[in-house]
Amino acid sequence: MGEQKGLTIQGNMATALGAKLSRPDVIPAYPITPSTLFPEKISEYIADGELDASMIRVESEHSAMSACIGASAVGARTCTASASQGIALMHEMLFIAAGMRLPIVMAVGNRAMSAPINIWADHQDTMASRDSGWMQFYAEKNQEGLDLMILAFRIAEDERVLLPAMVGIDGFVLTHTVEGVQAPAQEDVDEFLPPYDPPHGKLDPEEPMTFGSLGTPEYYQELKYDQTKAMDNTPEIIDEIFDEFEEKFGRNYNRITPYRCEDADIILLTMGSMTGTARAAVDEMREEGEKVGLAKLTVFRPFPSDLLKEIAGDVHGLAVVDRNISPGFGGAVFAECAGAFINEKKSPLMKNFIVGLGGREIFKKNFREMYEKTKKAVETGKVEKPVEWINMDEDVMR
């Protein structure tokens, strides 16, 4: 295992460093809080001669993703960064990047959606692009943000995958928070991530191809099926590449990581930075004799139904913690979890908790409350309210 360098940096610096170590050719980007430090840092790398790449200071996020598509289609390794309204503005192009099988990587500073306008953390922005055909990875810590960037390129560019990927780090909680990280050496990353040479084709006058054909009803459904099949095949490939990464860099990643789940009756399922607080709450409750575990979701797309069923198939209660809301249903992760257990003879009783919207803090006591509520449902065998909002200020409610 190669030498690694200890650094103390903000989350955006970590994802930018992960990008830099991946040697991108083209980075079209548009500033948006809280992901702006990413393009700033990349610009600095280029200005200081530390990164040989072309940065396109586009006039909008829509053009950022459009330029990513053009660059990737000629065979450039391409990435960008965005958040919230920016991701919403490029929404159209997300589908097109995936449909054209372009392995673009995007660092996301997860942020709430307007209105009301709010620059703080939640997962609404990327959950709204759930169906775009991008893989989605979420970091708990800055270290994960750095590593997942490198992993995202490697997985996205795998000949068996060829799909774009986003790496989410929570706005401010991670993007602007300084933490210690271990930075892999460039030679090691170079070995792990060989140069990108598109195996499926590129725009080249030597061998002319048409990208972005019109898919008539005679072909559209098969083309979409083919694309979906690629996503369906990724879990195994992701596991394989996560293992290789651990071997090379010593850090372990899983699509879902269980914590103290072995004999648990109830499991809390979290995603992103809230996981640290949840882990502390689980430790406290364990000390008090509660049989509670934690499952951290790192890969949201493709959704790891297989692992979830392994981890939570035998427990009594599953508390799904969502930092997003799909009005008219509940949390997006909850919907996926419920879907994972459909047609299973045995399934845990499930409750959904909506937390931390627009940067609302999430405390240990909140996880304790979620646990208690789930426990009560398990004991009574009745789920009165499947979806509950946690840490509400009743005084300001109208």
């Binding site: 050719d25 083209v26 079209p28 040989d52 790449a53 072309s54 396109i56 200071r57 586009v58 006039e59 909008s60 829509h62 053009s63 459009s66 330029a67 990513c68 598509i69 053009g70 660059a71 990737s72 289609a73 000629v74 065979g75 450039a76 391409t78 159209e92 192009m93 097109i96 054209m100 725009l203 080249d204 006058p205 002319p208 191809m209 048409t210 990208f211 972005g212 054909s213 019109l214 898919g215 008539t216 072909y219 083309l223």
Partner: protein, 293 residues
Amino acid sequence: MSEDEKKELLASGHRMCAGCGEGTAMRTILNEAGPNSIATVATGCLEVTTTAFPQTAWEIPLIHAAFENAASVAAGIESALKQMDKKGETNILSFAGDGGTFDIGFQALSGMFERKHNVTHICLDNEAYMNTGIQRCSSTPYGASTTTSPKGKYSIGEDRPKKPIARIASAHDIPYAATACIGYINDLKKKVNKALEADGPAFLHVFAPCPTGWRHGSSDTIELAKLAVETGVFVLWEAEDGNICDLNVTYKPKERKPVEEYLKKQRRFAHLTEEHIEKIQKEVDEKCEEYGF
């Protein structure tokens, strides 16, 4: 290869309507640009009629992404090729219709110009959203009846003048901007070459009649293209380095024909009264005076 055997870079078998001016424009432009070119195309007639899987009419590499971003996709291609040490000999062409240039694609186009990408954006102008069924666009001329600016008891059809897109493009101080028309093939060819030779972004506004949308006979396409210029409705000019105050009118009709000749051949203008036509004539006269003829 001799001139005569040169391969057509827009292959036959495309599904443009019979007599479509875009066909003439695209054949001329692609053949002039040559095989060492990469193109982006905005959603629209050109894309729909040339790329239906499993066939393509394109003999050069092409990417279609969406409606409003032909210029920013092209910017990505240009930056990537530059970065990856290509010699910079490949022409990068960005094609869009009037909708994809005047309206929805304008922001991406303005950004591409401002950042000085070495891309030639070509607008194929048929003066309305034809692919969706003849809706008005900011390119639609005064008096034209379209499906969203229909003539009626209280309407003369489109009630605003055409947006002067090439002047706006040139105002970005780009090295080359020009208007061209499929009735004047040699002028168009010259301008394609100048645009591609320019060191930086270039803009070509190519006027191409549409039999379906303008409701004229399919054989009238070229005649109408010429009449637009001979009447002064459409002026052929070029400007270097944003010099719109000192632009070069590349063709001046010896004697301008009355606009009526142009309007009368198209059913989109069939409802216009003598008064309306007089008003249009007056405006064209004023414009031509501005251009110095």
